[in-house]
């Protein structure tokens, strides 16, 4: 099993009672009935689909992970099969949207920009972390297996809980700091082109969490900052506008127990990053910087 589903027993019943109190129900029986019918409809649709797939030639087959903590039949994770007519240029996200809008409106995944900039739709496609919107169907072997990001708690279907990832990002003081700004209100700080080029790749992170999900170390050590957060620290530590003093502070943060020294340079993060950020290199460079600055203080 590549995904961690939250402990079922108490959590799902807790959710269910929550829902009851927040939205007062006019009839549980009716809702039950509706759930039952939804299940029936789903079966009908899947039967129809199978027929359609047999009839049409150019379709792709998707096997999509399904889980919902509170809906009968979905509490046990399962895979649903969807057949989607193929069109040139079609991405995994397109295929998911088609499946949802045509066959099953409860199919759930995050997405917004459709152009690899909002970072919402990192998922596990045929066994690797991908942004669904940036992954061409034509480049995948069938059936295409779509699962939520491994090593994260599944909220529902392809949606995972991102809180832990955000906490790690926030843990590195992810904001610009400097002790000296130019006096004039309209005066900018100077930055050389070389320095801007140096931090350029690190500033492209879209917080998709693909790297974190691919990392064995992060999987074993929940407190490990992870590649994206360390890269965020790199982005500031290497920015000459911040100054030496702040750089020292930043190096201390990433040198902590669950910081850069955990990385075993396995490159999995670098391989999956949809923005081509050389994460492992950045981590290595920070290690070198940390050593250098430690020597200085001896």
């Amino acid at each position: 099993m590549s995904t961690q589903v939250p402990k079922q027993t108490d959590e799902s019943s807790e959710n269910a009672t929550d829902a009851e109190t927040t939205v007062p129900s006019k009839g549980d029986a009716r809702r039950e009935e509706k759930r039952r019918r939804a299940a029936e409809r789903r079966e009908e649709r899947q039967a129809e689909e199978a027929e359609r797939a047999a009839a049409a030639e150019d379709t792709v087959e998707l096997k999509v992970f399904r889980y919902d903590p509170e809906v009968e039949g979905k509490q046990e994770p399962r895979f649903d099969t969807f057949h989607v007519p193929f069109e040139k240029g079609m991405t995994v996200l397109d295929a998911l949207m088609y499946s949802r809008d045509t066959y099953d409106s409860s199919l759930t995944f995050r997405h917004s920009c459709r152009q690899a900039i909002c970072g919402s739709d990192a998922m596990f496609v045929n066994g690797t972390q991908h942004l669904a919107c940036k992954t061409q169907i034509s480049e995948l072997s069938e059936p295409i297996r779509v699962e939520p990001l491994p090593h994260a708690e599944v909220t529902k279907d392809l949606v995972v809980d991102m809180e832990h990832f955000y906490d790690q990002m926030h843990a590195v003081e992810p904001y610009f700091q400097t002790n000296e700004l130019p006096d004039g209100e309209l005066d900018e700080q100077r930055q050389t082109r070389e320095n801007r080029e140096k931090v350029k790749m690190s500033t492209r992170c879209i917080w998709c969490a693909a790297c974190m999900s691919s990392c064995n170390i992060a999987a074993g050590d929940n407190e490990y900052l992870g590649p994206a957060a360390i890269n965020k620290a790199y982005r500031f530590a290497m920015d000459e506008r911040e100054g030496e003093e702040i750089k020292q502070k930043r190096l201390e943060i990433i040198e902590q127990e669950h910081g850069v020294w955990r990385c075993q340079t396995q490159f999995s993060c670098t391989v999956v990053c949809p923005k081509d950020i050389p994460l492992t290199e950045h981590i290595q460079e920070l290690k070198r910087e940390a050593v250098k600055s430690n020597l200085k203080f001896w």
Binding site: D18, K34, M90, E173, R190, R196
Partner: protein, 609 residues
């Protein structure tokens, strides 16, 4: 219930800037946003931010360019505020660490952009919006501003006086996407809407899936007019399968447009004998659609943008990001084949009517960013003018909502001053469906006390959700795609009376169909079926108001083209279009544009470049 001084709805560029400003002014501020802040569509902007920073340039020149670009439908007090304050705002971003592209001397770079008389567009590579969004989110983290993310705002809690200008906004009602909890957010100081664009009204757009115009529709139903909604910018080169934007850069470097017969139609069919591919966005968009409509499109849908003749070296050097976009999102290799392109909805010039402080006619309700209309863009937005709008007006709205005195506004809001009710007979029934499901309608709240108004609104929204969840009915996706189809067929770059009327009929049918809409996912956990169903209601309201304006405005101004009258008609139409919900019976009216600036009056000139 949650309570704060200021509630900001939306966390894109405008919302983030507003929250920072409100906090600076001393308010306890919180952001409520259906997407995590870094997922906002501001991140998609590539080109840049206009700011008159350098010797030889001035805010006055920027204002002149903007008024001209707006086809004189911008309001001078708003345009001048934009141009005066943009430089300071851009430098503030730099001081917050934004990684701008740099000159040899280490200063922020600027480049030329269409319609600008000076190269005043500051940028960060081809990812200006991404850098701006992340830089401001970093500041929000630094300042510890509370963010309620993945909370979908459903409605505004507004009192129900007869005259919208006497109403007060006391907060919002939101739905926690994670848990299904519905809760009130009381705002004692003010609510700032910063919900972004409404591209999902059309079926092909550069906008995100989440850009459903929620803020505009919520403010509208609460009594704030929508202003100049018919002015929609279409972009001529978007990828057919996703709407991803291929920037002007390709044509700037010499890219050529071909139809299915291999003709360079911009010249061969006489659309722009001088400028060819470099003609303005609307001209190129109309040319492409004409080719497709006359049977010379490829797969009856798109045309080809070819850059192969530029050579591999030049393409990789100047247009590398375009190669990636075409490959990742369309599966096309720009080095060996032409790229398919077609026009797509890009930007909404209109929106929630505000003054130059971001205030609406309802007390305590503000709007900033793409959802607002002050108006700085009038009939047509210049490239690079939306991002500065986010920071300048985000900040102003944040300050004002937090109680800072910004002086008297010059732009009137609501039905005050010189307004005129339109005498146009729409032949179709508009607005609320008679005898409609009470849950689907938005009546005003009865109470006037803030807490009571909020709890009544929460109750109504709970009932609405309960109804949607309990009943059997149609799926929203079918209704939404009906709206998108008719809008794209009839309210596109080509607008003619019969098509516009047809669109209103289709929209009416879609509205009636919405009466039976139901959510089939029974879950309270991350129910996107429910969220999309709520969004579709907003899409419907916006589509209708937009089409009303497009039908009434029988002239060609900026991005709005009418077949029956293909000239700019200053005598009759130098005025803003407003549509008021009017408790379910939409009303169209007009107000004059303000051409008097601080030191001069902007005299309408022909918009030629």
């Amino acid at each position: 219930m949650y309570e704060h001084d200021v509630i900001v709805v939306g966390a894109g560029g405008a919302g983030l800037r507003a929250a920072i400003a409100a906090q600076e002014a001393g308010a306890d501020v919180a952001m409520v946003t259906k997407l995590h802040p870094v997922r906002s569509h501001t991140g998609a902007a590539e080109g840049g931010i206009n700011a008159a920073l350098r010797d030889g340039d001035s805010w006055e020149d920027h204002a002149y360019d903007t008024m001209k670009g707006s086809d004189y439908l911008g309001d001078a007090p708003a345009v001048e505020a934009l141009c005066k304050e943009s430089p300071e705002e851009v430098i503030t971003l730099e001081h917050w660490g934004m990684p701008f592209s740099r000159e040899e001397d280490g200063r922020v770079s600027q480049r030329p952009f269409g319609g600008l008389s000076f190269p005043r567009t500051t940028y960060a590579g081809a990812e200006t919006g991404h850098q701006m969004l992340h830089t401001m989110y970093e500041q929000v983290v630094k300042r510890g501003i509370q963010v309620y993310d993945e909370w979908h705002v459903m409605d505004l809690a507004v009192s129900d006086e007869e005259d919208p200008s006497e109403r007060t906004c006391h907060g919002v009602v939101a739905y926690d996407i994670q848990s299904g909890e519905i809760s009130g957010f009381r705002a004692t100081g003010g609510v700032i809407l910063a919900t972004g664009g409404m591209g999902q009204v059309f079926d092909h757009t550069t906008n995100a899936v989440a850009n459903t115009g929620d803020g505009v529709a919520m403010a509208y139903r609460a009594g704030v007019p929508m202003e100049d909604m018919e002015f929609i910018q279409f972009h001529p080169t978007t990828l057919p399968s996703t709407g991803v934007l291929i920037s002007e850069g390709v044509r700037g470097e010499g890219g050529i447009l071909y139809n299915a017969e291999g003709e360079r139609f911009m010249f061969e069919h006489g659309y722009a004998n001088n400028d060819g591919e470099l003609a303005s966005r609307d001209v190129v968009s109309r040319a492409e659609l004409t080719e497709v409509n006359e049977g010379r499109g490829i797969e009856d849908e798109y045309v080809h943008l070819d850059m192969r003749h530029l050579g591999e070296e030049r393409i990789i050097d100047r247009l590398e990001n375009i190669l990636h976009l075409a490959e990742d999102f369309e599966g096309a290799d720009g080095l060996t084949e032409p790229m398919p392109v077609k026009p797509g909805q890009h930007y909404a010039m209109g929106g929630i009517e505000t003054d130059e402080h971001g205030a609406t006619c309802i007390d305590g309700l503000y709007a900033a960013g793409e959802c607002a209309c002050a108006s700085v863009h009038g009939a047509n937005r210049l490239g690079g003018n939306a991002l500065p709008e986010l920071i300048v007006f985000g900040k102003r709205a944040g300050y004002h909502a937090a109680g800072k005195d910004l002086g008297e506004a010059e732009i009137p809001t609501g039905k005050t001053g010189d307004y005129e009710v339109a005498d146009y007979e729409f032949e179709v029934e508009l607005g609320e469906v008679a005898g409609s499901d009470p849950a689907a309608a938005d009546g005003g709240a009865v109470a006037t006390d803030g807490d009571a108004v909020l709890s009544a609104t929460v109750e109504r929204q709970r009932e609405f959700v309960e109804t949607l969840m309990a009943r059997e009915g149609r799926n929203h996706a079918e209704i939404r795609s009906r709206v998108q189809r008719t809008m794209t067929d009839n309210v596109n770059v080509f607008r003619a009376e019969p098509g516009l009327k047809e669109a209103l009929v289709d929209l009416r049918e879609a509205r009636e169909a919405y009466q039976d809409v139901a959510v089939s996912d029974p879950s309270r956990t991350f129910n996107t079926d429910l969220i999309h169903t709520m969004e579709t209601r907003n899409v419907l309201d916006i589509a209708e108001a937009l089409t009303m304006g497009a039908l009434a405005r029988n002239e060609f101004r900026g991005a709005h083209w009418r077949q029956e009258n293909q000239i700019r008609d200053d005598e009759n139409w130098l005025k803003h279009t407003l549509v008021s919900w009017n408790d379910g019976e939409p009303e169209l009216w007009y107000k004059p544009t303000i051409l008097e600036g601080e030191n001069k009056t902007y005299e309408p000139k022909v918009r030629s470049y």
